[in-house]
Symmetry: D2
Subunit: 305 residues, 4 copies
Amino acid sequence: MDKIKSVKVSKDMKVSMLVENLKEAGFGARKIGIASEIMKKMFFGDECGIFLGIAGAMVPAGMKDIILDMIKSGKINVLVITGANLTHDLVEALGEFHYHCDSWDDQEFHEKGFDRMYNVLMKNEVYEKIEKFFEENWQRFHESKNITGFLKKIGELLPEGNNSILRVCYEKNIPIFCPGISDSGIGLMVWGRLASGKKLNIDVFDDLKEIIDITWTSKKKGVIYVGGGTSKNFIQQALQFSEGADYGIQITTDRPEFGGSSGAPLEEGISWGKLKTSAKKEEDFVDIFCDATIALPLLWAAVKK
Amino acid sequence: MDKIKSVKVSKDMKVSMLVENLKEAGFGARKIGIASEIMKKMFFGDECGIFLGIAGAMVPAGMKDIILDMIKSGKINVLVITGANLTHDLVEALGEFHYHCDSWDDQEFHEKGFDRMYNVLMKNEVYEKIEKFFEENWQRFHESKNITGFLKKIGELLPEGNNSILRVCYEKNIPIFCPGISDSGIGLMVWGRLASGKKLNIDVFDDLKEIIDITWTSKKKGVIYVGGGTSKNFIQQALQFSEGADYGIQITTDRPEFGGSSGAPLEEGISWGKLKTSAKKEEDFVDIFCDATIALPLLWAAVKK
Amino acid sequence: MDKIKSVKVSKDMKVSMLVENLKEAGFGARKIGIASEIMKKMFFGDECGIFLGIAGAMVPAGMKDIILDMIKSGKINVLVITGANLTHDLVEALGEFHYHCDSWDDQEFHEKGFDRMYNVLMKNEVYEKIEKFFEENWQRFHESKNITGFLKKIGELLPEGNNSILRVCYEKNIPIFCPGISDSGIGLMVWGRLASGKKLNIDVFDDLKEIIDITWTSKKKGVIYVGGGTSKNFIQQALQFSEGADYGIQITTDRPEFGGSSGAPLEEGISWGKLKTSAKKEEDFVDIFCDATIALPLLWAAVKK
Amino acid sequence: MDKIKSVKVSKDMKVSMLVENLKEAGFGARKIGIASEIMKKMFFGDECGIFLGIAGAMVPAGMKDIILDMIKSGKINVLVITGANLTHDLVEALGEFHYHCDSWDDQEFHEKGFDRMYNVLMKNEVYEKIEKFFEENWQRFHESKNITGFLKKIGELLPEGNNSILRVCYEKNIPIFCPGISDSGIGLMVWGRLASGKKLNIDVFDDLKEIIDITWTSKKKGVIYVGGGTSKNFIQQALQFSEGADYGIQITTDRPEFGGSSGAPLEEGISWGKLKTSAKKEEDFVDIFCDATIALPLLWAAVKK
């Protein structure tokens, strides 16, 4: 049995050193430390492909560059992400911003045209830019037959070098899956065109072939879930058809007892075949119960090379 | 200022009386009481159409008949629900079951072919029945052009009087929206057919027209969110294009500070135009922080006529 | 393996019937059902003494009469409760009230003399009545040598038949333990007298003898924890010296992974000897993850005879 | 309005730089950044005295050295801490340890003599060392008349330079308050002596004079709450008698809506007079919703000089 070591902190300490220290502590600190070790196995070990699932408004909250870092590592097999995050990514890709708000009056925001996500604001007028983007490029989307293709097309239409998830995934040829794409600002902008009589035909089921195929391409598979929802579940269900994941990290604030997928611990996935029966708790997979905007930067700053 | 009254409980007390008492108490008890009043305005007031969003594994957890009760009330304009719930609904519609498990060994469950959702189990072999259902009826789905149509078709194919959400919505002509349908067992069964070379073409964006149209049909609009995710958000975004909801009840265990849609209080929707600026907190809308399998039966047993 | 049964709700349904139904469902609903069965074993089984721990502002929130019901059952061996709850109990015992507030402006409340506990208010001026109570009765407290005795004396000084926890426990001769009594409005009122030069000598450790003695008096022991904190822990540590509890119900909104006592599941107590190794999960003990102002009335209305 | 900036992470990044970046992000990340600024005002600004409240098993979880760092800064006016933490501090002071456990079988731990706190273990036999400590030094405690004095005496009896909270506070002459001291292993060891007929007389209310006096000694007052419970509340109630705190940081995983003190946001304290009405949200005070074993090391490593 290993002793707990009290975390020692020093001025000018590096994040990597802090996280190493946390591994020697208890409760959630230890899980951060363990997750950093598992993350290293995923990103720097041989032959591991990563399935990255992102839910929650991570782009508005300033997590975009960390996600981009991961994508640029060349180790991400697939990105599954919510339509909301892609909408906010497109908002920023088109030159718009998100803003801080440390206190709020929602009626006032409504009058002034701001949309609130807890302590983050977006101007309602950003929709005009997205609308213009789709209006001007509408014909180009006829080449897309499924959601992945549709999202790849958006990336293709953005300028080269644009610092966005949509563009970087296009340039790196990493497929973006977004099963609930219609549930987003992007969906609404498409609706606008459809409502005006324009046509588009994007199939909802077609992507399943691609993601399930990809589960067979890596010798080892790691999953990283930031939040739950469809982003997690779409990866989980695809893994059922392979032999399950070898490694896993889940950052969630939801909990098991209410029975939803977002709060289900990775271990539960063993029963379904989503995680290998050989995967060891706190060694190959770990659940972190923490605000992802805190845990993810901390982990990535400790692991990034 | 009104006084708190201590909750008094008696043998053989009716649920409706208990909930009336809870309204006089504080903390979450009061919110249950307030929600029951708002629910009465929605279900029994004039000219209110209800937008019901269901996330979390409510069907496996035994909430199906309450959802069916609501649907049969004739007051539900639309149901937005996760693909997982529809899969479990279909599982039961085809004669299979869910089971209790009060303790667990996920490796053992995996070997024995059980899939676990916290303290609920499903036999993995149920997929065979769903597969057979789709295999046998595959041609019929060619008539469906969008997700709503696809789900309506499933309902049509089930036997008359079948006690399932899919069937009852079909019989009552209530549209079911499920933006993330591919993220579910139903999606996987469709994938199986596609993988074997069969064809299907269900459009992902087309449904937006219908749900946004419906936001204009009721004089008053009420939203009931059980959990968050796409089920909540798909309704919320549709409401942005009408004048917003008049009434709202949200049952969630998520919290605002982590910034996700599932934890966002209804009030935040005022900034977006999803809730009317005239809607009054704790009078027209209320957020309940509780396991939905506790709060929903308690509320419905108090409100049902 | 037992099948999940969908919860069926009917107009005029009794709470007891609803809770029986919940037992057949999953997630938290099942736990409510299980808890009602365990509660029946505690209250109506032979030879079981109950250790009731109450934390959180249950009295201001209107849970007083349910606690009184339990006390009057004659089955409660000891009550361990926070000083805050006892202060609020005394406030009501002296004729003051708590009030609803469904929205808030804390600066305004401060100016107007209201103290807020989420959606419950108390007038700051109630302290004058408590101060007067202690001022007038100060001499009487010299007879008290420990906290239990001090609290019993308060009960003795209240009018016969007064509907308060302090009085009813006095009349029923049930000891009230409150290890952190100085951390409360009652503590502050005592401080006021001490600051003016008056004397009192209440020993802090003396009560341990009595509560540990009582753990030996019942053939069977059940624990009911509403919230955690010192109220739970003071019972837990006393049980370590007996053979541990036979039955347990814990209602908490805290969770295990953060390592605090309030979130620790009852099962963890087996390692410490606080719960018997023979106690069976979901049969003899259960953890309910729910706002106690919802779960406690629901349970008690189902169990009360 | 300030723009959100995406967090940028680099290899070998310092914690202080990461936390500066987090301040530019949203959700909880921003709160960490804000808290680091407030913490700097408390520790390095002029004339601010800090009231530090510690709940949850922070010592077993390896947070002791961070707490010691803070104490040694010379800026801590008072430490209010749970009896459990002091017991674990004494355990380590006497040469014993805490251990990791990443999976568990509580029945096995019970047989082998290990007590579990989530993923941290303690040997049951440590109690023998504490017992011996009190047995051998019993006479010395007769000099102590209140809890603060009793705890100071423990510190005095430990060897010079001992790396423990009890000893360092003694050496630095910082009073430790622990209203619920009897609710702890230390309490149990005292009970052992009392049960064998030995005498001790430690008054429960006497400490209130000292802590309330101290609220008057600093020109400015800052509060830091790690967890809630009596540790937070004992400081909060003392502040009511001064003009309230100027600065505040609360790290908790509890939430407001259930009405307990541990989840109450600092802002609620304005109504009570515990926080100054002039204190500005997200500038002078902030609530962090995070596992303290993650947030506290992150903050302290960013702030420490």
